[in-house]
Symmetry: C2
Subunit: 291 residues, 2 copies
């Protein structure tokens, strides 16, 4: 455009798009370009700052691998991932929270009441609850996938000393919607801060710590799939999660126990239970899939 100006450029870019463009793509581009251009105009973004941003993105690309997604980490620490989760969680069910970069496919099956702790160090925790609808009806046949850190704060897929699927499982609930398993308390950990996103955290004086949590994906036919994580009420990092994943309804109480009599019914805990151990009661509430 010969006569393009600061004020007409955004409409010029959008105007170049053809009439056959998918309406939702057009809506997203309209919003994104208007906001990006407004940002540049309001801050009077300089060419040097633009170049710094381009180099920053280049470093994000360079450090990313199949097991380290620095783009997702950038989205996480800037709150965008949590915002998208919250936008998609405006219903009566359990809140979504960040998937994070440590999920891998193929978690092995574990029966209800099974033990995930095995030879892992760490305090024993027994997690139980139900998968149900908002009005309390059990959801038969729901499948719960869980993954967590070892006591070292590391996930199995980034730690050579752990088996590939250590502390990962997939549990199919019974007709009563109930699930339970024994494991260890997950440990708090820092998000990777040795790359460009870490540089951003350091430049802004921010913490890289995340409170300890179990990750869960819960799926059931006819219901909206739930990707979430669940945090203990006593974690020191609960109010300064680097990726803003904590929600009020995702906080659970770890109840300290000192007697095997307190092991929930139906759990064959004739195993390596350390004392004290902890019990957690947490229901996953799914909402019907409208789609």
């Amino acid at each position: 455009m010969k006569n393009v100006s600061i004020d007409t450029l955004t409409d010029a870019v959008l105007g170049y798009c053809g009439k056959d463009t998918d309406p939702r793509l057009m809506q997203l581009l309209d919003g994104l370009l208007n906001h990006m251009h407004a940002f540049a105009k309001e801050t009077k973004l300089t060419h040097a700052e633009w170049l710094t941003a381009v180099e920053f993105l280049g470093r994000i690309g360079d450090i990313s691998t199949p097991t380290r997604n620095e783009y997702v980490l950038l989205s996480d620490v800037t709150g965008l991932s949590s915002l998208v989760d919250m936008i998609g969680s405006q219903h009566a069910g359990t809140s979504s929270s960040v998937l994070g970069p440590f999920h891998i496919l193929g978690a092995p099956d574990l029966p209800v009441g099974g033990d995930l702790k095995q030879d892992n160090d760490g305090a024993t925790v027994i997690v139980k609850g139900r998968v149900r609808t908002p009005d309390g009806t059990p959801i038969k046949g729901a499948v719960i996938e869980s993954w967590q850190t070892a006591d070292s704060g590391l996930y199995s897929n980034v730690d050579e000393t752990q088996d590939d699927y250590n502390l990962r499982c997939s549990i199919k609930v019974g007709d009563d919607g109930a699930y339970s398993f024994s494991s260890i308390r997950p440990a708090p950990y820092m998000v990777p801060d040795d790359g460009p996103v870490g540089d951003l955290l350091h430049a802004t004086g921010r913490d890289a710590w995340r409170p300890s949590h179990f990750h869960f994906i819960v799926v059931a036919q006819g219901y909206k799939s739930l990707v979430t994580e669940v945090f203990p009420s006593d974690d020191p990092y609960l109010d300064k999660d680097a990726v803003f994943g904590v929600r009020e309804d995702l906080i659970m109480n770890y109840v300290e126990r000192t007697s095997l009599d307190d092991v929930p019914d139906g759990l064959a805990i004739d195993r390596n239970v350390t004392m004290p151990f902890y019990t957690v009661d947490f229901d996953f509430v799914l909402v019907p899939d409208e789609a």
Copy 2:
């Protein structure tokens, strides 16, 4: 934050930043996060769409190399690069325009009046003009760097058939601020559209063509450096440049000539001049560097 919500998240993220954060970085983050979060909220961005965006950025990282910067290309086709250029060009000097991805360091010196055409195919063009201030004072000692496509539409650094520095030069102007050189008319070309940015262009029915142009960087001590490009008034793509680089003051007339008598004085054009040939008169206007 236990009680973080869609409405409080943006302030929560900004509130995590320490008080010692550089004020300009804080200002940029404030603007960027507010706009990015507003975009997600206004469009009700879904997790699936967010994932598509993450994968798109991942593909941009994967395809980028030292000689192909797909991040810059994305910034270019979305108008952001041109917007930043225009924000920085609000003065009485020649407008800036996109640097583009084809600049390489180390262009060889060419004397004023020298020939860049050499054995290249294409119509001869003689470019001349002055480097001056807005009030017409010549700027002694200014250095003009120029690069352009061959007749094939390709730059030397992405075409194995060309010498490394073909059609690239660095000219130091005389005391009168005057410069001139002979070359070929650059050719229109398409920006690379075989990667993710090309997919975006195709999905929105957009053209990948750029009008033909000379790239210039003009530097002189005490003046703001100028990065720009100059377009012929007769180019068919002048009004649909894929990267929005055209400005009214960057359009020049190619005057068609059929006699060597029309070669400007002082230019030793006893060389490979094709007929008809073209002359261009274009001044670069620099403004004092306030910094």
